[in-house]
């Protein structure tokens, strides 16, 4: 008997295994487990079994049925999964085709440069304001300790509107306007266009952008200038860059300093970008000259401050590594889209 049961199970499993469709599988089920199926038929032969062996026989047949049932289910699931896979396979799309883009535009690299620089100063408590580009001689020069005939002013470099009015040559006149317009302390950053009468070439542009900064308060020191601008440089250019201050001259600051950062390209060894100096000049700065404070009615014994200014074109050109300023004003989309 046992042999017959085992043979039946054997047959049933192979039939299940070879069933390739749901129909074939159902057919196999009916043939084995159905009311007229082989296992049912086998069970009917119970009577011929020795009564003592009947429980064992029953258990054997039940085990065989469970086994076949399990196999049927497993095979059924496998076939379903295969069917599903086949269906999904036929739904495949070409994922390498371009997606549907909503085209977006870009901000001008100079706008981005101004944004990056001003954000750092905003975090240091400065407020960003703008000022007039058409300025008076008074604000652009005279109030900035640059009287007529001062060596630092040269008609050649300035666009004039008339004897009193000009296109500002620097963002510094906003130092004066800002101090005139508010009580100390003053902490402002002023980005904007400035004008110099230089014909356009690779390194000159009659219109360019500066960012001016001014901090005036009680007991502001040269050390504060050094600390603030060093912090700016480290944030903007990276913590590993070295910073140094060199004495320089601006009519409206004293002492005056230019700030250099170590050249990133050569690590200070000297290369074409840093003109083999290992340092790159980044900004001009200094303590606000007492004459400027006096001009706005601040008492230079009570109040001190520092100012700084940097050229945005230079910063952007250094950052992205191009050396023709004209690219910034051509508005060629192939250029603008790179930023």
């Amino acid at each position: 008997m046992r042999d017959r049961v085992e043979a039946l199970v054997e047959r049933a499993l192979s039939a299940i295994d070879s069933a390739e469709s749901a129909e074939a599988l159902e057919e196999a089920r009916v043939r084995i487990l159905g009311r007229k199926g082989e296992l049912t038929a086998l069970l009917r032969q119970m009577k011929q079994v020795d009564p003592d062996d009947r429980p064992a026989f029953g258990a054997m047949v039940n085990a065989a049925r469970d086994r076949v049932q399990q196999e049927l289910e497993r095979r059924g699931q496998a076939m379903e999964a295969r069917e599903r896979a086949r269906k999904l396979e036929s739904d495949t799309i070409d994922v390498t085709m371009p997606g549907r883009i909503r085209p977006t535009g870009d901000l001008h690299p100079l706008t981005q440069g101004i944004r990056e620089v001003t954000q750092i100063f905003v975090q240091m408590g400065f407020t960003v304001v703008e000022g007039p580009e058409i300025e008076t001689d008074f604000y652009n020069f005279e109030a900035l300790n640059t009287p007529p005939f001062h060596p630092a002013r040269d008609v050649q470099d300035t666009f004039y509107i008339n004897d009193f009015v000009l296109l500002r040559t620097q963002t510094s006149p906003m130092q004066v306007r800002q101090m005139e317009g508010q009580d100390p302390p003053v902490r402002v950053v002023v980005p904007g266009k400035v004008y110099r009468r230089d014909p356009m070439d690779a390194t000159h542009s009659p219109v360019f952008h500066q960012i001016e900064g001014l901090l005036v308060d009680k007991d502001v020191t040269f050390a504060d200038l050094a600390g603030t601008l060093t912090q700016f440089a480290r944030t903007f250019y990276g913590k590993d860059r070295k910073v140094r201050f060199r004495p320089h001259y601006f009519p409206f600051t004293e002492p005056s300093a230019e700030m250099d950062v170590s050249c990133a390209l050569c690590g200070g060894q000297g290369c074409r970008v840093c003109k083999y100096e290992g340092w790159i000049e980044i900004l001009g700065s200094g303590m606000v000259h007492p004459n400027v404070l006096r001009a706005v009615g601040y008492d230079p014994d009570e109040l001190t401050g520092f100012a700084f200014g940097m050229g945005v074109e230079r910063i952007v050109m250094l950052k992205y590594g191009f050396d023709d300023v004209r690219l910034l004003y051509e508005n060629d989309l192939r250029f603008l889209e790179q930023f």
């Binding site: 960003v128 040269f222 002492p255």
Partner: protein, 815 residues
């Protein structure tokens, strides 16, 4: 300024390598922009004595020179074309395999069958001067085989310095040496000034009258007799050349040499040409004329200071001498001028005459009156040592009102408080003393020190205590000052205007626009090209008095020309689609500018309005696998504005047809919010497109940023979210073509009342099916109530009312 190091070493000991030296100068404020290694090209150059000079057998032009080039060297044979070499001459020679100052390598060459083992050199080939007329003949003191490159100073490192305008004292060798001495704690050696003088006193030979003491602070003169014509010594020529000054003649070279040494320009007059041997320093008379050294006749004005004699003008003071009194080969006696002129006078004169010289660029920065006599003495000493002239005794020196040296009083505490570093009175005094200041320190009961500083005459830039802070700091070392963060609790931020600009930029970038940046100029012809009427207020532009080019002669009153130019650039470069925008300013005059008067303090001279402008042209979206290519048209530009307004939450912006330049009369709209015109959007007029050479389908817009910002600031209110479902109904109709879509929408809203939640135009058709002059519009209307679910009957009722209104009010044929 160019500073040859060998020259500099005359005044200060230098132990540093040139690079270290450059660094030390740079870090104390005298920026070294480069080191020029002059004469580095010279190789295998030596001195030789011409033992014999014989004609070349085959060429009349060439000669063969046998040279003795030193005791342990075989004589060399050299072929030369120069005619000035005779037997016994000492000449410079480059041996075969060596090279000239410009690096050109000289090999052994055969000239018509005679081998030349080197080449005799001119002054130019050695780098001594520009003289290339013959072989440079060396003095007899030079021996064959001498290393003349070293002994004549032909090879040198020349520092290229950037001297800031406040430091004219550093425009000379002694000034730079003084800085170096201060930095490196060395002693400064002043140049030798003594010389034998003839018995005849200069004051018997010449007379000086200063008629304009406000413009001439000091005038000194020396009389030099028996000046020798010809060139200065080679070492002097080499130094002048290295410093960038062309050697000319012994006397002129000496004046230039002293100027470079002491920063005191000198001028040599031919004494015999000075009428009555009298110098008169005076203002020019109106229309007075003078032919200057450069040969051009100058008309002077009464603001200009001139040097005259008893009869006529001799020179423009501090700028340039006159041709008539110039020294020549025949000059025997020279009147040497050393003076101190008012810097503003020289500045103005030089610019009025458009004449800048080495002298004027020094005088206009302000010179030290104390340099007047030493410069004369030094020149006399050099001329005497060179055997180029004999000085008469003494100086004629007119110095009407000598100034006492300035004394600045401060305290160590005051200086330390400005610096933020406690370096102490001794350190402060040490820094200043090294720079040539006299420092008197006096303790006070509170422990601080009073410091009285006497400023040397050559440091006119140091006027008040803060100037001392810089002097101390730069000698002490800027980078020795600690870095601190200032006190203060202000929280930073952007001005509202700036923040708004950023918001608009971001919105337009999101809509596909790229930001342009253009120059804020335009020109008169732009107005015509844009089609502005002759009386258009935009023509009232601020004019630049000294523009670089005509196209940049006005401050723009509109951004359109700039936008069209930016478009043209991209079209010319075959860009398929362009959408550029910019937030720039337009400029209008104020009363002060129009009247040409000085604007009141605190006012801004012009009205500067921030304006958003944009241009669109060419392929818009599409041209992809999922969408066909579509050209930008009016509705793209309008959509950009609508999208921007949506982004800024500006509700109720309307567009109405506008006819204004530079637009197509039927394709432009005024952008209106709350009765205020914010700007204009439209397609350019075909004529404008033609003038600016851009495609006809070019869209432009301009929006006033201040007005837009006002609109964006209108308060926003929360509206409860709808609780009851909405019902959508469509309505399609045929209308006369000129019925505006906006009117249809308004009619729907009016008729539908509060139940109309939204109206959306979803189809437009024009064509044969609706007939000529008509078009079909289809709207989808959403009905919704805030307090209940609308019944079908309610919706039908209101929708019927809408349909009836459309038919009645607009003549719509409903479908």
């Amino acid at each position: 300024m160019r500073v040859p190091l060998r020259w500099l070493k005359d005044y200060v000991d230098i132990e540093l390598e040139p690079e270290q030296l450059a660094d030390a100068l740079t870090m104390s404020g005298t920026k070294v922009e480069g080191i020029d290694r002059v004469g580095s090209g010279l190789r295998r150059v030596t001195a030789g004595r011409a033992v014999s000079v014989t004609p070349h057998p085959k060429s009349d032009r060439l000669r063969i020179v046998i040279l003795d080039i030193g005791p342990r060297q075989a004589p060399r044979r050299v072929v030369t074309a120069a005619g000035n070499v005779a037997e016994g001459c000492i000449v410079p020679v480059v041996l075969a395999g060596g090279s000239l100052v410009d690096g050109e390598v000289i090999g052994e060459v055969e000239f018509e069958g005679v081998r030349s083992e080197g080449m005799l050199l001119s002054a130019k080939e050695l780098g001594v001067s520009e003289d290339n007329s013959g072989i440079l003949l060396l003095p007899d003191s030079v021996k064959p085989g001498d290393d003349i490159v070293a002994s004549l100073g032909l090879r040198d490192d020349v520092l290229e310095l950037e001297i800031t305008p406040n430091r004219p004292d550093c425009l000379c060798m002694v000034g730079v040496a003084r800085e170096l001495a201060a930095i490196t704690r060395k002693e400064l050696r002043m140049p030798a000034r003594g010389c034998p003088e003839s018995l005849q006193p200069a004051r018997d030979l010449t007379k000086i009258v200063i008629e304009a003491p406000d413009l001439c602070f000091r005038y000194g003169a020396r009389v030099i007799r028996h000046v020798r014509p010809g060139q200065s010594p080679i070492w002097m020529q080499a130094r002048l050349s290295a410093a960038g000054i062309r050697p000319i003649s012994a006397v002129v070279d000496v004046t230039n040499y002293v100027m470079l040494e002491l920063n005191q320009p000198l001028h040599a007059f031919d004494y015999s040409r000075v009428a009555q041997h009298t110098i008169v320093v005076r203002r020019a008379q109106a229309g007075e004329r003078l032919v200057t050294l450069d040969g051009s006749e100058r008309e002077l004005n009464t603001d200009m200071l001139l040097i005259g004699d008893a009869e006529k003008a001799l020179a423009v003071a501090g700028v340039m001498g006159g041709l008539a009194s110039e020294i020549t080969e025949n000059t025997d006696t020279v009147l040497l001028e050393s003076a101190c002129f008012a810097q503003q006078s020289v500045w103005r004169t030089s610019r009025t005459l458009r004449l800048r010289t080495e002298a004027s660029s020094r005088f206009e920065k302000g010179l030290d009156p104390a340099s007047v006599p030493p410069a004369l003495d030094r020149a006399a000493s050099l001329l005497s040592r060179m055997g180029a002239g004999e000085a008469c005794s003494g100086i004629v020196d007119v110095y009407p009102s000598p100034e006492a040296p300035a004394v600045i009083e401060t305290t160590d505490r005051w200086i330390e408080r400005r610096l933020g570093a406690g370096l102490g009175a001794d350190e402060i005094a040490d820094c200043l003393t090294r720079l040539g200041f006299r420092v008197d320190t006096q303790g006070t009961p509170d422990g601080s020190a009073k410091i009285a500083v006497t400023v040397p005459s050559f440091r006119g830039d140091v006027r008040e205590p803060i100037d001392l802070v810089e002097e101390v700091a730069r000698i002490w070392g800027y980078n020795e000052v600690p870095a601190t963060i200032p006190q203060g609790t202000d929280s930073g931020g952007y001005s509202d205007e700036y923040a708004f600009c950023e918001q608009v930029r971001q919105a337009l970038a999101g809509a596909g626009g790229s930001e342009a940046l253009t120059f804020p100029f335009m020109s008169e012809t732009d107005f015509d090209m844009l089609g502005f009427a002759p009386d258009d207020p935009k023509r009232e532009a601020i004019r630049v008095a000294n523009p670089l080019v005509e196209e940049q002669s006005l401050m723009r009153t509109t951004m359109y020309p700039a936008m069209l130019a930016a478009l043209k650039t991209n079209v010319n470069r075959r860009r398929r689609g362009v959408f550029l925008y910019e937030i720039g300013r337009t400029y209008a005059p104020t009363g002060a500018i129009t009247a040409g008067i000085e604007p009141a303090r605190g006012e801004t001279p012009a009205v500067e309005r921030p304006v958003l402008a944009g241009v669109m042209c060419g392929a818009g979206e599409g041209g992809t696998w999922y969408a066909p290519e579509r050209q930008y048209d009016f509705y793209d530009a309008k959509g950009a504005i609508e999208g921007l307004c949506a982004c800024l939450h500006i509700d109720g912006v309307t567009f109405s047809r506008a006819e204004c330049p530079p637009f197509h009369p039927g394709r432009a709209a005024a952008i209106v919010w709350d009765g205020v015109r914010l700007g204009t959007v439209g397609q350019v007029h075909p004529l404008v497109a033609g003038s600016y050479q851009v495609p006809e389908a070019t869209m432009l817009f301009e929006v006033d940023m201040a007005l837009l910002m006002e609109a964006a600031q209108s308060p926003r209110e929360y509206a409860p979210l709808p609780k009851y479902p909405a019902v959508e109904r469509d309505v399609a109709m045929v209308l006369e073509r000129d019925v505006a879509s906006a009117d249809v929408e308004r009619t729907i809203r009016t008729a539908g009342g509060a139940l109309v939640e939204s109206v959306r135009l979803f189809d437009v058709y024009e064509g044969p099916q609706v007939g000529e002059g008509r078009r079909s519009l289809a709207f989808s209307i959403t009905y919704q109530a805030a307090d209940r679910t609308l019944t079908d009957a309610e919706v039908n009722q209101v929708h019927d009312a809408v349909r009836a209104a459309l038919a009645q009010k607009l003549g719509a044929v409903l479908r």
